[in-house]
Amino acid sequence: MNGTSAIVKKEIRSYFYSPLAYVVLGVFLFFMGVIFTKFIYIYQQYNSKAQFGGGQPGITLDKLATYLYQNMAFLLCFLTPLITMRLFAEEKRQHTFELLFTSPIHAFEIVLGKFLSAYFLMLLMVVLSGLYVLFMVIWGNPELPIIATTYVGLCLSLACYVAIGGLISAMTSSQAVAAVWSFIVLLMLWLLQSLGQGITATFAGVQLGTVMVYLSPLGHFTTFSEGLVHVKDIVYFVSFTGCILYLTHKVVESNRWR
């Protein structure tokens, strides 16, 4: 695994030597700030209504946190392609693929190294979002276990996003093409949840709608954000990421045959 750690170190260095990492982190924090402020404003409005009405607020801080993290998961769906687009496409463009593939390391070490470096950057965003948890803890009383499971779900979802972005980057030598296609695929995966709910058709005895809903990461993430940790959801995220990384390995290997 020497190759993997060498690639992780180099990739993280490359991310921070270019403006890309800073821009993506900045955009993430800006939009999260806007969303958080908006939610706090809504919470305040509910609170004051409840105070004047003499009852409990109609929305709890935990519910707000759930909405906040669902929005964050969706925002990361947009930002992941910007991080993953360069993973393999850039190597092809710069002809550095030859350096990696003539080094005494296995192709899977390269794929894993690339995946882990992009995943690290995405996790950094998740860590930075802890700032909002801190605000909620200081000025409110949120259910921390629910927030913790939400974070677990978020980290698992991001692994899928990054793996998909990496796979698409391995299929092209253009970063722009990789970014656009990654975004389209990630968006489609999200939309599968709502599209699947409206489909009642069956194929070979299997309800297509159910399959579509199952394939979408949204439903699995929602379970985590409700404070529930189901093994089936963990299996979904881990197996999904594993399959995509395996496919990426095959695509990368096939590049050498052309």
Partner: protein, 311 residues
């Protein structure tokens, strides 16, 4: 050191290389010569384990390239046509990354990096961004990465392309100096490069090897077929007599200041004697008569045009 047998690579129905076989001894500099698209890079990519072959075998240091690619890659340093560099990294960071990829132990890393920097004369720019370096320096960075693990075999794909004349001379002497501790395969389409650097040459055309021999024997191969004569006076009568000699194929005369004749003839002693006799008897004032070695360039062109065979 290298044993290549019947190596073939097909893209669809097109052969990029077809049944290539050659061997390289330890400590040898082998020039791999051919036009663009002849199959040089494909052969090199297969030898480095970057690309699989359609058929055939290739062994490096006793290890099969296809069965033991990791062992082979440990023994090879490869500089592709475009140096595989990351412009956003410093030279030292880049070499550090390559050392990690090559699995160089931490305690040896600094020593190996310093040695590579010294060999390629990059010490002054080690803390500069690769993206800000000139093409010549980038090429050297590429060479440094191929040398860093002190490989037994160096495969260099057109390492002097795009360099200025001074850099080309420096690169040549660097490659020559590498002979002491490495075996080198060196591809180019520049003939003077081969003559200046290599011990032996493999000429490849349209995916096939058309010649492989030592540089010295190539020069002598056509030496006796061409003769230069310089005379004081040159008349049409002399020229006609020379052209009429049995065995003479062509006579070219040039009269820019000195009267010079280039005579292509069969490499026979009696033809030479007759040529000398005619020049003397016609009172042309013979100044010089000497065999002219066939240039590498002409030899190469003859080979790829099919005028000459030499394997």
């Amino acid at each position: 050191m290298i044993e290549v047998n019947g190596l073939t690579k097909k893209y669809g129905d097109r052969f990029a290389i077809d049944q290539i076989s050659f061997s390289v001894k330890k400590g040898e500099i082998l020039g791999f010569l051919g036009q663009n698209g002849a199959g040089k890079t494909t052969t090199m990519k297969i030898l480095t384990g970057f690309m699989p072959a359609t058929s055939g075998t290739a062994k490096i240091g006793g290890f099969d390239v296809f069965e033991n690619p990791i062992e082979v890659k440990k023994r090879i340093g490869y500089l592709p046509e475009s140096p595989p560099i990351y412009p956003e990294l410093l030279v030292s960071e880049y070499l550090n990354f390559v050392s990690d990829l090559r699995g160089i132990p931490k305690d040896q890393k600094k020593k190996k990096m310093d040695a590579a920097l010294e060999k390629t004369q990059l010490g002054d720019v080690k803390n500069r961004l690769i993206g800000n370096l000139s093409k010549g320096y980038r090429q050297r960075v590429g060479l440094a990465q191929s040398l860093i693990h002190d490989p037994e075999l160096l495969i260099l794909d057109e390492p002097t392309v795009g360099l200025d004349p001074k850099q080309v001379t420096e690169a040549r002497s660097l490659i020559k100096s590498l002979k002491e501790s490495h075996t080198v395969i060196y591809s180019t389409h520049i003939l003077s490069e081969v003559a200046a650097t290599c011990d032996r040459i493999v000429i490849i055309d349209k995916g096939k090897i058309v010649a492989q021999e030592a540089i010295n024997s190539m020069g002598s191969a056509g030496a006796s077929s061409r003769t230069e004569m310089v005379v004081q006076r040159l008349s049409e009568k002399t020229l006609t007599a020379l052209r009429a000699v049995n065995g003479v194929r062509n006579v070219q005369a040039s009269q820019n200041g000195i009267n010079r004749l280039i005579i292509e003839a069969e490499p026979r002693e009696d033809v030479m004697v007759e040529l000398a006799r005619i020049v003397v008897t016609t009172d042309s004032g013979l100044v010089r008569m000497q065999p002219v070695a066939l240039g590498l360039e002409e030899y190469y062109l003859d080979l790829i045009k099919g005028k000459r065979t030499a394997i």
